[in-house]
Amino acid sequence: MILRFQVNATDVELDVLPMARLLDVLREDLRLTGSKEGCGEGECGACTVLIDGRAVNSCLVPVFQVAGAKVETVEGLASGLHGHERLHPVQAAFLEHGAAQCGICTPGFLVAAAELLAHTPHPTRLEVREALAGNLCRCTGYQKIVDAVANALGRQGS
């Protein structure tokens, strides 16, 4: 099928199989390899992207479901989409706090955190943990990730 949607504020038109996973279309057809595949079953969040502003697992989304939608990937966070010229504050905070180790989970965490930031500028620590509940990390033990997101939000508010 011919599918039209937006990725990181750019219109795209692709000839795809309707049941191809959004994750594969992003990574292979569009060469946006920032979104990762951890489990492929909706359990780990490594493939998290925003569809119309909502964080979802792109490994569970048949691509026909994004017809006409706005998709944002981790690549879009740093490009000025959120009103920031370079790194999104949450990306800067991850660097500062050493919140990534092997890095496979990091794009998913960044995207889920970006959704939180967009609608809750000053969340509590519990809200940070709640927003990141669908993302697994087997390296960091989460503390630095939560610290980074909490700090990024603080800076955004100031």
Partner: protein, 337 residues
């Protein structure tokens, strides 16, 4: 890598008439998809082989929550995230809103719908596996085999009803509206489920669930929902329970309903519940009644004796929730252990 084998056609109706026509035309060869968060993993695991997939997401008639004087009416496509964050739903039906907030993780709740949750396939540690994994055991009654690895001698699949909203909707006396080429019918949610793990829905292959009607509870109605899971952040239930009862000014409890699920192929209603003055002894009696009739099976990968021991604890937590003594946050981490 778990990709989807592209062996079928995807159809995208926009009206209920179109949905019904497609169901009429394709019958058992068709399968419906809403949020896809249950359908897609099962498809990847080779549990379904549809010829046609009918996507419901374009049918606007299935959206929206109506606040009527006598009931709340949810379209089948209402999102779980919408249900957990809608403050009006939370005010009237706190146990339903809490159950929605405890389904899966945030990403699944942003895709997952109420209709999809009610029609969730049953789950079993021997079936929610890759085709390769299942093949090593020679399949089972639910798919490609003739034994049950849970009951071993039994000839009936006992895969567990694992949807979190179903027990709550039963406890609230909700009904569902079903549409097919033969017309519309209504069923109490309790009658939507049958005791067969292979397919536990009393829903024809040509039927679509369109709406859920939840009667507005009276002023004395109290309700609570509790869930046991391995990781508070994301997992399916190891057990869940929904409680509802009337409580008068003199603290007398009457009209109790207590439903447990994630045990057998359908949610289980606990019978012979006591009534009377609400105190610790009465709550303990509820716990004992539930303990007597809830017997977890090895269909779920967690110690069955521990799960059973947790039954009375879930009951007391559900009471705390119903009496407003539990944490007020609707979010799932309040349940993290």
């Amino acid at each position: 890598m778990l990709r989807i084998a592209p062996t079928f056609e995807v159809l995208r109706p926009e009206t209920l008439d179109e949905v019904v026509n497609l169901l009429d035309q394709h019958g058992e060869a068709a399968r419906l998809i809403a949020g896809g968060t249950d359908f897609v993993p099962n498809l990847k695991h080779g549990l379904y082989a549809p010829e046609v997939v009918i996507d419901l997401k374009g049918v606007s008639a299935l959206r929206g929550i109506e606040h009527r004087p006598e009931s709340l009416v949810f379209g089948a496509l209402v999102g779980l995230h919408e249900m957990e964050t809608d403050t009006r739903v939370h005010a009237v039906l706190p146990s339903l809103s809490r159950a929605a907030s405890l389904v899966a993780g945030p990403q699944q709740r942003r895709m997952g719908t109420l209709g999809g949750n009610l029609c969730l396939d049953t789950r079993c540690v021997y079936i929610n596996q890759t085709e390769f994994w299942r093949g090593a055991l020679g399949g089972c009654l639910k798919k490609d085999g003739d034994v049950c690895h849970v009951t071993v001698t039994g000839k009936k699949c006992v895969a567990a009803a694992s949807n979190d909203t179903a027990p709550v909707l039963i406890s609230l006396g909700a009904t569902v509206e079903l549409l097919s080429p033969r017309g519309v019918r209504h069923l109490p949610v309790d009658e939507l489920y049958i005791n067969d793990g292979i397919r536990n829905l009393a829903l024809g292959h040509d039927e679509v669930l369109t709406r859920v009607f939840v009667p507005r509870p009276g002023p004395q109605r109290r309700m609570g929902f509790e869930k046991l899971r391995t990781r508070g952040a994301i997992d399916f239930p190891l057990l869940n329970c929904a409680l509802a009862f009337d409580l008068d000014e003199a603290e007398n409890l009457s009209e109790p309903v207590l439903i447990f699920s994630a045990v057998a192929a359908r949610p289980r209603s606990i019978s012979q519940l006591p009534v009377g003055r609400l105190d610790a002894a009465l709550i303990a009696e509820f716990g004992q009644r539930a303990f007597a009739s809830v017997r977890p099976l090895t269909n779920i990968n967690a110690d069955v004796d521990w799960r059973r021991e947790m039954v009375p604890h879930l009951v007391s937590r559900a009471f705390e929730a119903a009496l407003g003594r539990a944490s007020a946050t609707p979010f799932s981490l309040s349940n993290a252990r």
